[in-house]
Amino acid sequence: MTTDAVNAGFMAPGGKSWLREWLFTVDHKRIGMLYLWCITAFFVVGVFLGLLLRLELFWPGRDFIGQQTYNAVFTLHGVIMIFIVVIPSIPAAFGNIFLPLQLGAEDVAFPKLNMFSFWLYVIGGATALASLFSGGGAPDTGWTFYVPFSAVTTTNVSVAVAGVFILGFSSILTGLNFIVTIHRLRAPGLTWTRLTLFAWALYATAWIQVLATPILSITVILIIVERLLGMGIFDPARGGDPILYQHLFWIYSHPAVYIMILPAMGVVSDIIPVFCRKSIFGYKTIVGSSLAIAFAGSLVWAHHMFVSGMSDTAVMVFSFLTFIVAVPSAVKVFNWLSTMYKGSIRLEPPLVFALGFIFLFAMGGITGLVLGSAGTDMHVHDTYFVVGHFHYVIFGGTGFGMFAAIHYWFPKMYGRMYNRRMATTAALILIVGLNGLYFPMYLLGLEGMPRRYYDYLPQFTSLHQLSTYGSWITFAGLALMLYNLIHSRYRGAPVGRNPWKAATLEWTLPSPPPTHNFDTEPVVTHGPYDFSEVRDDDGA
């Protein structure tokens, strides 16, 4: 075997045609890479749609796209970003590649099912996109598909929600696969308390995927049934109740927020100890808080519905319960900070992204309490405050978690190192850009600018323009980061097994790992953040 072939690891061609090797692969690492590329492609599309929205809002009134196009663009931006990019981002891409490696396993529990999930993901994404170009035109309902509008609009909602249904199925099967993998395929000695926090986060996430996603599936089936057969399940004239749609939708979609954020928290929990050379502070409380978030997340969905006409008792109960979720989230933040305290910190790009995560997530999390408290929510409900809040949490949180994960595991995936200085610069530009983009939205919301509006009053112009400038800075940061990664994938300096001197199992393998993962089944004798036995000679 030549040196080149050894270095290519699982990426090396296996002698069959490219299509057969990649499209029909059951190797968890290849499937993870496929997800990663697809997610990146869809992310780029979503980013351009977002830029388009910001550009249109630069001046009041029509700049260059019409109202109907604007409605379609924000709906599509939401659907792509939520269902196709953010929900599968970390679990399906990095979970697939690294969960079995961190467990010391040969593959996930059901490799063929894993391949099937990926196909479903592609078919679902394609179906959602097809809704743009077929039927009565692109859906204009917003990503929440609220009835009664979604039941009566002439745009192509049925096809879009069918895409969401298929994507949900894919997400369920990935979750199922991960649960069984973690239960059944841990290497000898890898007890539950020696599991990485990333694996724990994926475990908690997987349970939400399995138990909450079916509710979304049935909800979108009901929309389709309503549109095609006129069932009237949400029509008050026929004994239905549109508020029940909102209940069903948020029973899934609130826990879905934790599907998005928990894996990112897992990534951050894995990265911080490595770059502080210190065991994680409060391992068990972080595990407990992941499970607590997963559970408590399923109790609070109706805080999205305070002004829907829901009963006052329910408003108070759900408002109170919402505050409970803040507790485990804060526990994690305190644990990360305590881990860094008196650690020997190396400010490498993954840590910079992780710190960006903590800062931006805190900004989003704290404003979440303003929205969770029923009194203040009445004031800012459906304003730009909400838009600012969830973009801080999802882009600043999950997005940064994703970027941290890419920069942490890039050397392992490709066997090459990126330009670290450029990566840090990109991270800083992104942090500045994100604040420029989303902070003005808080102010806009407090002043009463409603979300999803195509036009606005002249007094909001300067804040809208500030936000648009921020979107350009963000775009510059993303472009620099992507350039650096793509360039380094071909030209980066080769690295050894363990450039970051981390202690988890994936770093004991060559970079990139071979197709069969471990030559002999590893036996685990220490915890994931015990750096005392990491050797220095494996480095870059």
Partner: protein, 97 residues
């Protein structure tokens, strides 16, 4: 390892399943009969109670849950608790409107 060896120590046979089936049939008859007596709101409660007894028979015997390990039992419990939460919490709203 052969799947039979793993399960040999608890091997429910034909007889047990037929007995469970007989119980399920009897309970079906009971629930139809009870529904003809007017108990008001209690009718729904009784019907659901009988259905739950039948469901337990199916889950524990037909589906072998009685013979499974504790992990699987816990998982089943979690799934049903979450479903109960979804139904119960929705009532917070609708029952107080």
């Amino acid at each position: 390892m052969n799947e039979n060896e793993r399960t040999k120590h608890h091997d429910p046979g034909y007889g047990l399943f037929i007995a469970v089936w007989a119980a399920l049939m009897a309970l079906t008859a009971v629930t139809v009969e009870v529904s003809t007596i007017h108990l008001g709101f209690l009718n729904v409660v009784v019907a659901m109670a009988i259905a739950s007894v039948k469901a337990s028979l199916v889950v524990f015997f037909f589906m072998h849950l009685k013979y499974e390990n504790r992990t699987l039992k816990t998982m089943v419990l979690v799934a049903f608790v979450i479903l109960a939460i979804f139904i119960g919490f929705t009532f917070f709203d609708t029952a107080n409107r």
